[in-house]
Amino acid sequence: MAIIVDRKSLGFWEKLYLPAVLGGLKVTMRHAWRSLFKGGQVTMEYPEQRWTLPDGYRGAPYLVRDQEGSTKCVSCQLCEFVCPPKAIKITPPGPNGLPADRKNAEKMPEEFEINMLRCIYCGLCQEVCPEEAIFLQKDYSLTGLSRGELIYNKEKLLALGGTVGGIQKWKHKLEEAKTQEQFPVNV
Amino acid sequence: MESLNSLLDGTLVSTGLFYLFATFTLVCAALVVANPFSRNPVTSAMFLVLAIISMAGLFLLLHAFFLAAVQILVYAGAVIVLFLFVIMLLEIKEELRRRINLFGFFAGILSVGLIVRLFIDCLHQSPATSAANPSIEGDTAPLGKLLFTQFVLPFEVVSVLLLVAMVGVIFLSSRDSKPRISAPSSGTEPGVGKESTAVPQSTAPTTASTQTKH
């Protein structure tokens, strides 16, 4: 049930609008004055000044390596599956492909491409990755002169992504299991 | 101003301008009426604008400066814009080429022919009333003086006319939210209350209900 509130009828000066108009002009003029002469501008002069990015900022997704410098990705294609704009394209190695370059991994992607023109920086790939092989990093200024240039391949992604921590996934899984034990399941 | 006038009165220039404007006016008018390439009302309207503007040029040649301005202001600025507005509002499509009404066609040609004939006769016979050296200037001040002295009564009547036109237009274009009188349930009586001749239930309920189709 909607509540209908009667609109307040306007007073004489309000009906005349002029005070409001002048008031508006005053406000805008104040802003202009401030930004002109008092440095009140909030604009950041971008290439020279840079924004300090907050924690948890979701920039471009890159592939990362572990401490040994080997590829974390195992080509499970979960991220490809989950990617809303279908920006990720993984080519698995196939029976005759390259073996994984690290232990405890059966394979690594033959090719891994992210179309940065498509990517929406949602972070789902990061979340879904069982190997913690892909991370959204604080990179936002992706430019290029052609469309093809913005399709990042595995090498580029790995190069940009760098190394993030060690293999933490077991630690995380352990924590998860603990919370589940503690959690009363008595529904 | 003076130099402008002298320019206008220069025989060669004014003659040339006259033929330019006259031809342009007539060609545009002809294209309003019968455009071989398009039967689009917008095209007609646009050519009408051109005709009006070049007619204003003719007015200038006749030293009717005020009227030239008013001509453009009223016709081009308001009247034809209204036309365009209506055409766009109603989305009037191009006129279909229907079967030509032969009778109408020939009657039209005939009557126009007769009138042209009449005009030709008139022109042949018209006496040279033209003054030797026309000297009037259609400026605002003398026109205004005339308007408010000799023609003040028609002026006032025109004001009433404009009021009437305004009332009429507002009435015609206002949409009624709902008819003031609800029509009697027309489901049972197909013939009654089809149009707005709806029966007021308050005043004549009996006649409405007893009326049946025989």
Binding site: - | V32, L67, V79, F119, L147
Partner: protein, 101 residues
């Protein structure tokens, strides 16, 4: 080669005849109405040229009235056409056949 009254009158007459032709031959209400404006303008032209060559301003005053009245007439007329269009979406005169014998 000098331009006199006759030349202006000729233009005016031709304009009038053209307008009349349009009124008679065209089938679109709006175009008919435009042709009517042409006819009125022919009268305006005649009046202005007479006024110039008669050395009297009266004619121009009449033109003033004609323009005013024509504007009012157009306003009412277009409102009417719009109102009619709402009831029957056509601007074609031959479709206006409700009123017949």
């Amino acid at each position: 080669m000098n331009v006199g009254l006759e030349q202006f009158l000729t233009v005016s007459f031709l304009l009038f005849a053209l307008g009349l032709l349009g009124v008679i031959m065209r089938r679109n209400l709006l175009v008919i109405y435009m042709s009517l404006e042409l006819m009125l303008n022919a009268a305006n032209l005649a009046l202005v040229s007479f006024s110039r060559f008669n050395n009297k301003l009266d004619g121009q005053v009449v033109v003033f009235f004609i323009i005013t009245v024509a504007a009012a007439e157009v306003a009412v007329g277009l409102a009417l056409i719009v109102a009619l269009f709402r009831k029957r979406p056509t601007a074609h005169v031959e479709d206006l056949a409700t009123l017949k014998l």
